[in-house]
Structure formats: structure tokens, C-alpha cells
Amino acid sequence: MSPMQAVILAAGEGNRLRPLTRSRPKAMIPVANRPIIEYVIHSLLENGIRDIVVVVGYRKEYVIRYLNQLDVPIQVVVQERQLGTADALRSAESEIAGDFLLLPGDNYISPTSIARIKTERNAMLYTEHPSPSNFGVVVIKNGFVEKILEKPEDAPTFTVSTGVFSFTPDIFGYLRSNEIPDAIAGMLADGEKIRAIPAEDWQDAIYSWDLLKMNARMLRDLAPATSGTVSTTASLRGRVRIGKGTTIGENTVIQGPVVIGEDCEIGPNAVIMPQTSIASRVKIEPFTYLKDSLIMDDVTVGSHSRIVSAVFGQGCILGDHTTTYPKEAFFEVGGGVTKSEFGAVLGDGVRAAPFTTFKNCVAGNNVSIEEGRVVVGLIEDNTRVI
């Protein structure tokens, strides 16, 4: 038997995560400092699956660049237009020789989950979710899939598809529309059996603020390591990982789990509290407090800021006394209204002058804000707040 293959779909933008998907697809959004797709690849490798095909499309150059620098060779196929998941799978058909796994590149799936499905033919991983209407809801009978309802208004059950399937090459005969669930329906109609297997751990971020929860989950598995230059008066407790070239200044307190990338400058006198990820070349100025946040590359946060429950895109420059203020509010995203509580989600290149307060705010890419403003709710890309 030839070794199992895997197809990872990473072509879609994931537009509900805007503004964070302007320069990268959802699969490339860093969570605990690694793109989501890296967790998927890692889980496959843990299971000895090395023959991996990734379907790229939206902002493919970034995905390919990232995949090329991995230790394992990854086969890349391009989906020219993002028509749907079945179309994406079709573009990988020429690379598939036998049974294979199909996985979404923008969800976390644990190695144990993959171990449960990798020896099956025609099976899917499902999980329980409190708000199933955002997903494909799966009706299961006697351990087999009875039907899949795509994002139904009223879900009959809480079991949803993780998008992880084990298929035989026969699936290609069912790819008549552009969506995988249609193909599944076709298989079921032909009397094919699809085993339903519970996933051990699976995480998805539907909205940008859900990344914070995913970040906290991924930080649980963080391997602690210290690198760079660390002051003896800095206090590092719990699981803390610090990258090369980073400087941790005097009296900085870091309470893990916290990950900090390369070439950052933290403190002196900064406080980094649990569930925080800080990527590379980030500058956290003195007396700033961070907690439950996800900070991407090249961000600067000024002195005396208080950043809680925030996602900052690449290259944001925030002046001193920036505050993010988590408050529960209703959001209209993609036609629906959803309730959430977080401080701020900032796209790439947001600039805020000193004394800006973000209150439950989603600010688009390259938004600039004049000093002392309280910014609330959704703000479009390139807006100037004066």
C-alpha cells in the first residue's frame, strides 16, 4: 500500500475574518505565532503522513513562500478562481494516486483526531458545537452520516462537520457542483456509506475575535524556550517562549502562556499576561500591559497602554496610552448579526495617535486615528478618524 496522501485546502480568503485577510488567506493567519495551516501540517506529520498537497489560490504567493520554507516538501496546486471547496479539490485531482485525507487549512485539528480517521475509507470527522448554524450540520445514524445540512437556520443537532474527510479517489466522480457537501449528498444518494467519527479536538475561528480563543488553545501546547537577551530582573513565569534577537527589558513581568517572536523589544517595565502571542519585530514600550491578545509582526505599542482582548494586524503603530476596552456588543458581519465581547481587532497598518481608546472595535487596514479618540464598532479600510 502506498503511503496515505493528504489534501489541504488553503485557497479561500475566509472573508468573515476581514480585515485580517487582506494580505493573507485565513489559513495563513498566525495563531500562537504560527499560521493555522502549520498546525494542520504538523498533525499530519505526527501521523506519518508526508505526501501533502496544498491547494492555494487567494494571495497564493504568501502561502507558497511559507510552504517552501518548511522542512518537508509540500506539493502545491493552484486553484485559479475561488469557486468552492469541491472545485479546489478538483484542482488537486492529478496529484492523487489513492485514498487520501481532505482537510481545511484554516481550522485546527489535533493529531489524535487524524489518527482516528486515517485508516478509514470514506469517513468524516465531526464535532459538537454550541452554534452549529455556522457550519455544515451532520445528522448521524448508527455511526454513519445520514445527511449534511449546510449552515441551516434551525439546526436539528449540535454535531457539525470539521471538514476533515477520508476519501477514495471515487470522490472525484461526485464533484459535480463546486461544494463538497453536494458531493457527499451525491455519495449518500448512491448508497455509499460515510462513517462519522468524533474529532478529539478541532478549533475554528469564524469571526476575527474568535482568533483569541484559538490563540489561547494553541498556547496550551507551547514548548517553553528562552532566547535573545533577557534581563535578570525580568520575571518569566509559566510557559514562556522567547525568540532569537528579542530583548526583554528590566522589570518586565511575563506570565505564561506567552509566546514572543524574533527581534522584538519588550519593556523595560512591561507586563505581558497569559494567552498573549507577540510575533516578530514588535516593540512594546515601557509600562504597557498586554493580556489575552494576538499581536502580529512589526507592531509598535506605545508606553502606558493597556491592551486586553485585542488582535493587531501587521505593522500597526499605536501611540502611548492606547486602551482597548472589551465590551459586549452586537456586530453585523456577512449579513448576520452576532454578539461578542472583545477589545479591538485592527487590520494591517493601523496608526493611532496617543490616547486612543478602542472599545469593541474592528478597524480596517490602514485606518488612521487622531489623538484622544474613542473608536467604537466597525471602521472601513483606509478611513481617517478625525
Binding site: S23, E61, I64, G349
Partner: protein, 579 residues
């Protein structure tokens, strides 16, 4: 005439030579050939590039051999002009990188003495001279032959019934790799690195006798020792991955190339050299010449220092007065013209600095100090990330002269480059692909940016393009403007904005379609032009970077639309090691 390799040892030479030549293809790919020594000398040579031809089917026996991949200088690319060349008897074979300047005279003499020439190359004279000097000892023959040659050469020679390769170099690069019971020779380290980490850099005037177990090196008739350097390079992981072309991959690596170069900083010695300079002369060729010109436009007003920029190819014959700091800018570190100029500067006791991307390259060993760019290996013939990394190094020099005033700006500049990479180009590409001629215009530092834009357009899309200072267009080239001649105008905000707008209106009045690069949100500009390409608002120094990248994308997509061979454009080689 560009890349040479040699192997001697216990393994089959042919596959090793072919593999080595593939790694050197960036130096030229008009034709290739190999020769191996069995009891006789067997030669295989062919027009075209190795990857295209039936390289796998070349079967020449023997564990001693030499190979060559060619970029034609003398004689068109065809089978008979391909190296290796053999003498009249077929006992000697030779590969050569460089140019023999007195070959016409030598050839005349050799013809008179009855030699039969089978190619139009300058190289063939060397092998016939070897034949005349050959009395059974190849080393002696080479020793007698090289003094007769004028010009530049790196040669590898073999003779029948002899388990040796004799190598010689002068003004062309040649390095040796020492293995276990085997030796390798090549124009640069790339083909050697997969076999050994022990490298000898030959020096000008060296003659080396290479056998499987040892190397003996002679200089001016005396035996000399050359140190064995240990290089700890991993194999350069130059995978194209899923990218359609290396060029696109390299375009997308530019934010990193810029950042890494800035991050690496400048050593104290180089800083001191820069601060002490009273004037600066830059020597460069091709794309590097454009980065040097940009430096002039940035450094003169910002650092108040006189800057002269010279083409390497002109320098040698029309040397400028040599004073002050001389900076050689060359991606490969092997550009023959630039190196020749640098040697002259050294001879005039000027402090010399090299800016290059290749550690251990010839230029680094000639210049007093080196400022490394951190672009990583660039495979595509069209320079992109090395151009950006050169600008990073040169901007860092400006920054040093300005006491770190631009630290913050340079540290964040890679983000703006990343921003431009998201830019769509369809409209502009549609105009350019239909055009026979395209003009690129700009003012100040954007004048050399437009020259570089035009160079890229010519180089990879084969669309004729010219870069002009925007104000100069009306002194002649206006006559060429037609509705089919697009003009790419770089029009960022700043002191020249108003006059650029009037230039654009003048061109518009001649019905030329205008593609303008301007500040994002510049509606005034967007309204008067046909295609508007927005560039993030930033300092002029950063705009130099962003507009350059936008023009690379324009050329790249135009070339793709015209189905050109983007990574290996016709008639070009990546580093030109002949004058």
C-alpha cells in the same frame, strides 16, 4: 562564455559535470558541452540549455572530465562554437571562461603554421597554442601558453592518457573543491557545495595541477600554497516551489531581503569609511548602475556629499579622476567590468568598498571592505530582490551619513514594499502588452527608477522601453508619442508633483495613454490618466522602493501575458564575467 566545471576522482564524471553545469546555468545557457578522459578524449557538445536537451542521455565514460555552459561572446551559439574545444590531434581539450583579446593575431599566426580551426571562438586559439607547447606534459604546456594570452581567462585543460586537470585563471573566477580522493573545479562555489566544504579560491595568475589526491599551485613559475577555506554553507535551497517563475518568487521575497539587509547593519569599519569620505564614486553595471544613480539622488541633497556614478564598462577606458571613496556595486561580485574598475581605484590608493550579495566572491577579495546585501540566492536573470537589497545597503549608507536619522523609516520600509505586492496590474499590462514602445518617466530619484523600470520591461518582456527624465521627453522623444505608445509616469507627492502633472498633461495632449504611479487616494492624478497605480503614502525614500516594485510587477505580468521565458530571457546571462 560563462560557467566551467571540472571533476577528477573515483566516480563517473559525466553526471557530476552535468549536475554542476546546471547549477552554473545562470552564468549562461546558449550551449553546453563536456569532455572526459578515457584512453582518448571524448567530447559531447550541443547548442541550447541543458535542461532542454537530452542531458540524461549523455554517456561519456571516465572519471576525469571538464564541462562548460556558454554565453556567447565570440561566435554565435551553435554546436561547433560550444566548448570544450580540442586541438588538431584530438589529444587535448579545454574549456574557458573569459575573453582572449589578442586572439585575432594569435589565430592568424596559428593558421599560418597550419592549424585547423573548427570554431569562431577566441577560446580555440588557446587549445592550439597548448598543442604547440605540448611535449607530453600538460602542466608545462599550460605554463608556456598562458603568458601568450592577453585578456581574461579561467581555463581547465585535459589531455588523453593523463589523470590530471590543469587549471589557470587570470581576471576570471575559478575555485577548487577538495573531496575525498576527488577534486572539483568550478567558476563559483555553487556546484561544489553539494560535494565538499573545503574550498580553495585561486588567485589571478595561478596555475593549478589537479589530480584526485592533491592540488599543486604555481604562481610566476614558483610553487605556492593557497589556504583551504572551509565554507559552512548549506545547499542553497533555491526551490521554485509552487511559483510559476523564480522572478515572481524573488519579487515576493523583497520585503524580507530589504529587512534582512537593514537588520544586518553596517560594521564599524565601513561606517568609519563612509563618515570619512569627502566624495563618493560608485561603479556598477546594469541594474546596479540604476541603484547607484538612485543613491546619488538621495545622498547629494540629504548628506551633502558629491557623488559620481560610473559605468564599469566605461571606467577602464575613460577613467574619471580617482579621489575619495570608491564603491563597487555588483550582485554576483563577479562582474568583470566593475572588478576591473575597482582594481584601478585600488591602484590609485582610494579606499574601496564592495556591495555584493555573494560572500567570498572576487569583489570581496579585492575591495578593502565589504557590505553584504542579504538577498539570498537570486536565480532569475532579471534582478529584483538583489536590486531592493542593494537599495537597502545604499540607503543604510545615507542613514549613516545622516547619523541614524532614517533608522525608523528604514526599519518599517519593508511593510510598504509588502503593501505594493498586493497591487493588481491588469489594466496597465493590457496597455503594455499591445505596445511596441513604452516610455518610463520620472524626476529626481524616480528618473533612475524609471530607467530600471524600462530595463526590466526590455529584459523580460522584449517590449522596447526607454527611461527618461520627465522634463527631457519634450526635447526629442515627444516625436515618438502616439496613441499606441504608453507612458509610465512616476508621480509621487513632493516638490516635483506639480511639474510632473504638467508633463503628464503635455503627453496626454499627444494622445499617449498614461499609466501613472501616484499616492493612494490622489484623485486629481487618477482623473487625468488612463491607468492609475496607487502607491502607499510615505517618505520619498520609501517611495523609491515601492514604485520600483510596482514597475517590476508591471514588467513581470506583461512578460507573462506575452508568454516570455521570464527567468531565462534570450541572449542574457545573470552575471557577466567578460568585459
Amino acid at each position: 562564455m560563462c560557467g566551467i566545471v571540472g571533476y577528477i576522482g573515483r566516480r563517473e564524471a559525466t553526471p557530476l559535470l552535468i549536475q554542476g553545469l546546471k547549477r552554473l546555468e545562470y552564468r549562461g545557457y546558449d550551449s553546453f558541452g563536456i569532455a572526459t578522459v578515457g584512453s582518448e578524449i571524448d567530447v559531447f557538445k550541443k547548442q541550447g540549455r541543458i535542461s532542454e536537451s537530452e542531458a540524461g542521455t549523455v554517456v561519456l565514460g571516465g572519471s576525469v572530465g571538464i564541462g562548460h555552459t556558454r554565453w556567447a561572446t565570440h561566435g554565435e551559439p551553435n554546436d561547433s562554437n560550444a566548448h570544450p574545444h580540442t586541438d588538431c590531434t584530438g589529444r587535448l581539450a579545454l574549456v574557458h571562461n573569459g575573453v582572449i583579446e589578442n586572439y585575432i593575431e594569435l589565430k592568424k599566426q596559428l593558421l599560418e603554421r597550419g592549424h585547423i580551426f573548427r570554431s569562431e571562438t577566441d577560446t580555440e586559439v588557446i587549445v592550439h597554442l597548448l598543442e604547440e607547447n605540448f611535449t607530453g606534459d600538460l602542466l608545462e604546456a599550460v605554463k608556456k601558453t598562458v603568458p601568450l594570452l592577453e585578456g581574461s581567462y579561467a581555463i581547465l585543460a585535459v589531455s588523453a592518457h593523463d589523470d590530471r586537470i590543469v587549471a589557470a585563471r587570470d581576471c576570471s573566477p575559478l575555485v577548487l573543491g577538495i573531496g575525498d580522493g576527488e577534486l572539483f573545479a568550478a567558476s563559483d562555489m555553487t556546484p561544489l557545495l553539494e560535494h565538499t566544504e573545503r574550498i580553495i579560491f585561486l588567485e589571478d595568475g595561478d596555475i593549478a595541477e589537479i589530480s584526485p589526491e592533491r592540488v599543486e599551485i604555481y604562481h610566476d613559475g614558483a610553487k605556492v600554497e593557497r589556504s583551504v577555506e572551509l565554507v559552512n554553507w548549506g545547499i542553497e535551497d533555491a526551490k521554485k516551489g509552487g511559483f510559476a517563475h523564480y522572478m515572481l518568487k524573488e519579487i515576493f521575497e523583497q520585503p524580507q531581503a530589504f529587512y534582512e539587509t537593514i537588520r544586518a547593519g553596517i560594521s564599524d569599519a565601513v561606517q568609519e569609511m563612509i563618515r570619512d569620505a569627502e566624495e563618493i564614486t560608485l561603479v556598477a553595471c546594469g541594474t546596479s548602475y540604476h541603484t547607484a544613480l538612485i543613491f546619488k539622488y538621495l545622498a547629494e541633497p540629504l548628506c551633502r556629499i558629491p557623488v559620481r556614478v560610473e559605468l564599469g564598462s566605461e571606467f577602464k577606458y575613460y577613467p574619471p579622476p580617482l579621489r575619495g571613496l570608491v564603491i563597487a556595486v555588483t550582485q554576483s561580485g563577479e562582474t568583470a567590468d566593475t572588478i576591473a574598475a575597482l582594481k584601478m581605484a585600488k591602484a590609485h590608493n582610494c579606499p574601496t568598498l564592495a556591495i555584493t550579495n555573494v560572500q567570498g566572491s572576487t569583489v570581496t577579495r579585492i575591495a578593502d571592505t565589504t557590505l553584504m546585501m542579504r538577498a539570498g540566492p537570486e536565480i532569475s536573470v532579471a534582478a529584483t530582490k538583489s536590486y531592493i537589497a542593494q537599495l537597502a545597503a545604499l540607503m543604510e549608507i545615507v542613514n549613516v551619513r545622516c547619523d541614524g536619522k532614517y533608522d525608523d523609516l528604514l526599519q518599517h520600509a519593508h511593510l510598504a514594499i509588502g503593501e505594493v505586492l498586493l497591487q493588481e496590474m491588469q489594466g496597465a499590462v493590457a496597455l503594455c502588452r499591445e505596445a511596441e514602445h513604452v516610455f518610463f518617466v520620472g524626476r529626481g530619484p524616480f528618473y533612475p527608477v524609471s530607467m530600471e523600470g524600462a530595463l526590466k520591461m526590455k529584459e523580460i518582456s522584449y517590449v522596447h522601453a526607454e527611461g527618461y527624465a520627465a522634463g527631457e521627453l519634450k526635447h526629442g522623444p515627444f516625436a515618438l508619442l502616439t496613441p499606441e505608445t504608453p507612458v509610465v509616469a512616476i508621480c509621487p507627492p513632493g516638490s516635483t508633483y506639480g511639474v510632473m502633472i504638467s508633463n503628464i498633461k503635455e503627453m496626454k495632449a499627444r494622445r499617449a495613454p498614461i499609466i501613472a504611479l501616484g499616492k493612494k487616494g490622489d484623485t486629481e492624478l487618477a482623473e487625468i490618466v488612463d491607468i492609475f497605480i496607487p502607491i502607499p503614502d510615505s517618505d520619498p525614500m520609501v517611495q523609491v522602493l515601492t514604485t520600483s516594485v510596482a514597475l517590476q510587477l508591471l514588467s513581470y505580468h506583461t512578460a507573462c501575458a506575452l508568454a516570455r521565458d521570464v527567468d531565462k530571457p534570450r541572449n542574457l546571462a545573470k552575471s557577466v564575467t567578460v568585459e
